[in-house]
Symmetry: C2
């Protein structure tokens, strides 16, 4: 391998594929980035679950490839002061990096030590804006379970029903659903993608209108944004059908600004020591015009009144404030509807119009 | 106590005095901030070594005081959405905070549980720009020892000789000296101030031309910037006379850009695993026009050539790269002079003209 390329472009490639690089894995080759020069320079990172491939332009005078430790390569390229970089292989497993008056030799591994990763896309594809996919992930992923004993709930459920793409997360205490209509989509898919991979995919998606092509397969899924492809294994099993747990009827409903409610719950949660989950924040409607958010602990008390227009029964319910804050933080709508079905039943959070998101939060038992 | 004040001003006061608040101290009162309302609202934080007092305007309708946990008070005030805050004391030890539609009760302690801290200034005073003091601290404090068995070296040595203020730090491997001429100053002082306190003082100093008045006493020192006073105990003992360890003669000298040298040393240090101090960065002059910066480890090699004009003997010396990086990072001069007295002797870093700073770095033994 002998080539020259842009330092800034190479840095972007390294930062991107590094998201999938294992750290301190049993196989030291996976702590590395695979560099392959053929028609283009291709960088790959992989952690046995998720692989990221980044293709970039380079002026290649000799083909070849090797694996180099990701941390060292990343630090070397980040600290170069010249945008012109020369890369070459010496003694089969040493990467030579030259730029300005600097010369580095980084010890690596032969390319054939690196696992073969398949980036083969199926015919069935979902195409949507990268910014939309990013938003769909961010608006659901916080509700994913961290309980290792329930591996299915550590994933995001991706559902295609006709022209609707839905992402669902739940952890036994709350549910997050985000829907998007994709004109022209006609597919039936129901798969579970590891949350860790989805979190990296969200970060790799740009904030622009550029498209990402999603190609689900039997046991893996590929996200293709042109020069970058991400492949990740799927979680086997069947996800809980979220529709079966949504309360059918509501006795109480009120409209509120998610920003105002977030701030009130955040203030009330100050009194709740983060290490102690026993203490709830209490939602109460003393009259039809007022919602109070209240907490009482050994540290002190917080109480706040929010003017509302209540329809239906009064409520007095204990909640874990974090569940509200994590959901409300991701809502960009001006107003949301809260509905309740009684003091021991969950709270639903819905948009004022449409059904692009749905959150459900279980109360704490007194 | 009953008063109203500005949320933003109160937040600034809390953030400032919180720098001196102990965390999880044996005495829970010291985890708190003392609030006292008399002519002004005065906030105090103290950790048995350093005390910070912040005086602010408030519309006080009833005098009084108490101590409240710093973390809770800080979070409550930070999260208020209205700039108008009402503070009052309830049941002697509970602070009531009201703002907008929010009401908080924070459990605290009676003011008389808080230690008495003396902010009494002596007649002898040093006056200089806050931005200058901040720079003098930042340009020396990195060389302070972290070795608990040598408590004297865990402080900064502050020396007044006639009209010159000098701050010195050293840890047995390197020396940092920063001098400033203060017109009109005529004082002889030689004291040792704990580095932790100096680090907080640096952060409290503004970046403007406003003055700070330093008032050293027998066993404490006060820094007064008007509405904020910091008092800290001194470290007892005698600091090493730094002049006695500065090499008298140099055999080698060269001029270099501190920015260029910093970048080269930073790049060479990538190959040195941070947990392994055995590996040096080698400074070498293969000819009179070139300085090479080089490292070789199991990870790989880095080598860089910097064009220079050498006077005197050639050198080949091993250094700990961190010591160079920490010193060079703080130098804003365009060029510095490096001098050497042989391959087993320290390197001196001096300004091109003047003597406002002086750094000395010992070589690593081969």
């Amino acid at each position: 391998m002998k080539l020259t390329c842009s330092r800034n472009h190479l840095m972007d490639a390294i930062s991107t594929v590094q998201r999938a690089v294992a750290t301190r894995s049993a196989n030291p080759v996976l702590d590395g980035i695979l560099l392959k020069a053929d028609q283009e320079l291709v960088l790959t990172g992989y952690d046995n679950e998720t692989g990221i491939e980044y293709r970039m332009e380079a002026d290649i005078s000799q083909k070849g490839g090797l694996v180099v430790p990701a941390r060292v390569l990343s630090e070397v390229v980040r600290k170069l002061s010249d945008n012109h970089v020369y890369l070459a292989i010496k003694d089969d497993t040493v990467l030579v990096v030259e730029s300005g008056k600097s010369v580095f030799n980084i010890r690596g591994y032969a390319a054939d030590k690196y696992p073969e990763i398949q980036f083969v896309e199926e015919d069935a594809k979902i195409s949507l804006k990268q910014s939309t996919l990013r938003q769909m992930i961010n608006q659901t992923i916080f509700a994913v379970s961290t309980d290792q004993s329930r591996p299915i709930l550590m994933g995001l459920n991706l559902i295609c029903e006709n022209d609707t793409l839905t992402i669902v997360a739940l952890d036994g205490f709350r549910l997050a659903v985000r829907k998007e209509t994709i004109p022209g989509l006609d597919m039936n898919v129901n798969i579970i993608i590891p949350a860790k991979a989805m979190s990296e995919i969200s970060r790799i998606m740009s904030d622009t209108d550029e498209e990402v092509i999603i190609s689900p397969s039997h046991n893996y899924i590929i996200f293709n944004k042109g020069n970058v492809k991400v492949v990740t294994r799927l979680i086997r099993g069947e996800f809980l059908n979220y529709k079966s747990i949504i309360p059918r009827d509501a006795n109480t409903s009120l409209m509120i600004s998610p920003e105002v409610l977030y701030a009130a719950v955040a203030r009330a949660s100050i009194m709740i020591d983060t290490e102690d989950r026993r203490f709830p924040v209490v939602f109460q409607t003393p009259d039809a015009d007022t919602l109070t958010i209240e907490s009482k602990t050994d540290i002190g008390t917080a109480r706040e009144e929010i003017p509302i227009a209540l329809s239906g029964d009064k409520i007095e319910i204990d909640f874990n404030p974090r569940f509200f804050m994590e959901a409300l933080r991701e809502v960009s709508d001006d107003q949301v509807i809260l509905t309740f079905s009684g003091n021991l039943q969950p709270c639903s959070i819905k948009p004022e119009s449409g059904e692009h998101f749905y959150y459900m939060i279980l109360p704490l038992r007194r």
